[in-house]
Amino acid sequence: HGIDLTTLGLNLNSTENLHKTFGSPWSNEPSKGDPEFSVPQCYYAK
């Protein structure tokens, strides 16, 4: 019968993309720490 896919730790009803906090195929937990981000060079004000 397969498994209840809502028990795999992914919020399938989320309005946000899941991949931004996808931790790993092995864990039910979203990724820890800061998701990947990069600030443009010009944000470095004097």
Binding site: H1, G2, I3, D4, L5, L8, G9, L10, L12, S14, N17, L18, H19, K20, T21, F22, S24, P25, W26, S31, P35, E36, S38, P40, Q41
Partner: protein, 521 residues
Amino acid sequence: ETDPAGFRSRVTTLFKSWYQICEVSGANETACSQYVLHLHQTGLLKGDDTTESFFRILLELSVAHCISSEEISSGAVQSPQQAQSPSFLIIDIYAKLVFSILKHFPEQESSSKLFLLSEIMAVTVRSIQKDAEEKKSSLNPIPYFRLFINWLLDLCSLDPGTDGANFQVLTAFANAFHALQPLKIPAFSFAWLELVSHRSFMPKLLTVNGQKGWPYVQRLLVDLLQFLEPFLRNAELGGPVHFLYKGTLRVLLVLLHDFPEFLCDYHFTFCDVIPSSCIQMRNIILSSFPRNMRLPDPSTPNLKIDLLPEIVEAPCILSEVDAALKAKQMKNDVDEYLMSRQQSSSFLSELKQKLLLSASEASSAGTRYSVPLINSLVLYTGMQAIQQLQATQQLQAGETQAPNVVALQMFKYLSMELDTEGRYLFLNAIANQLRYPNNHTHYFSFIMLYLFFESDQEIIQEQITRVLLERLIVNRPHPWGLLITFIELIKNPRYGFWKQAFIRCAPEIEKIFESVARSCG
């Protein structure tokens, strides 16, 4: 062949000075770029054999340090539970060196940077393959995993000068991961899937440069599913396989949620490599539908499928549907038959034989039939029929008369002449097209119901019911087209479903039908 005398110690010395720059003086940009310039001026970055040796030795040094640090620390602790994690210091330093080389590479045109990156990737892949060959089941994948994680976080988020540069970095990784796929290095499988599905890699490959990265992700998913297929075929999954299977489900769910169009457009390819026993995994693929589409509730009373605007649209299919037919030199015969408009029996009677595998192929495929060939024949024929129907405007809303007779003739012949196993695979090929509202779902839903209605053998009706039902009694998700077909079958008195003896062949079967009937409203 061995490296030139003294070269290894030269590389070691260079690596030590890089370590000084990173660890001691905090790796400021100036020091990094001067170091890279020095490497360039001493001819180590030309992309020739020297370059290959240079990076291979650096990688060997880094991996050796990582592994020895783990052995030392785990030797020191009492119980394996406390096994300390290895030191990634040198691996991280090496990853940073590659990143700095690509960032500060003095040659301005990005082509030489990308050429150097592909060289470094090739060295890395060859080293892992060699290590795997030598170490077999004692391969330690973690140092290589850490190296790629560093590169995915740094190189894939390099400020893309142009999307093109970023895309070529991503495809360099995709090619490397393809070369390191589980069928080639099974001992690297878990590290491999985590890298391929990493949030800094897969989503970028699916979004940078439109859909140009989709074929790369599709190929990596096929690599994974081909490795799993022999294990999944006979549904008992031991620990490691079950763990890899669940990891695969998570990745497919992320794709279903964030990139459903990708799963939609490649469903045909994935159905070729997902074994027919993996019903829920296949349902995930078949349940995907374009994000901008709203699906009407299948159990809506008197739902008029034919009147849905999307129902006459052809779905986007990026897979090469007729590849298997061409490979077996059958495409021309099928085209001839479909154009012949007469029910030539020679073509049909030979058809059955052609769908069988040779004995040796059958033993490795775990079935006597070529599933990809059956899938290709069914979908290709259906697509030709739909095209002809639309050309003659027959497939109008509310049109119930039999569509394109010749194709129908073939489907009916196969449903009656194939043996039980062949018919099951044939009906599966049809059921794999029951997806979101489009003209394939519409046509193949009709075909499935037509075969049920026209068949004069109960075994055919039973198998059609089984193929639909086994896809419905698994945990969700269930494809929309599957639901509307089954609801039509059990609700429309035309098919006399509830008179069938097989729905009462056993008490638990009877209970299943009652509960399904209730849940289908």
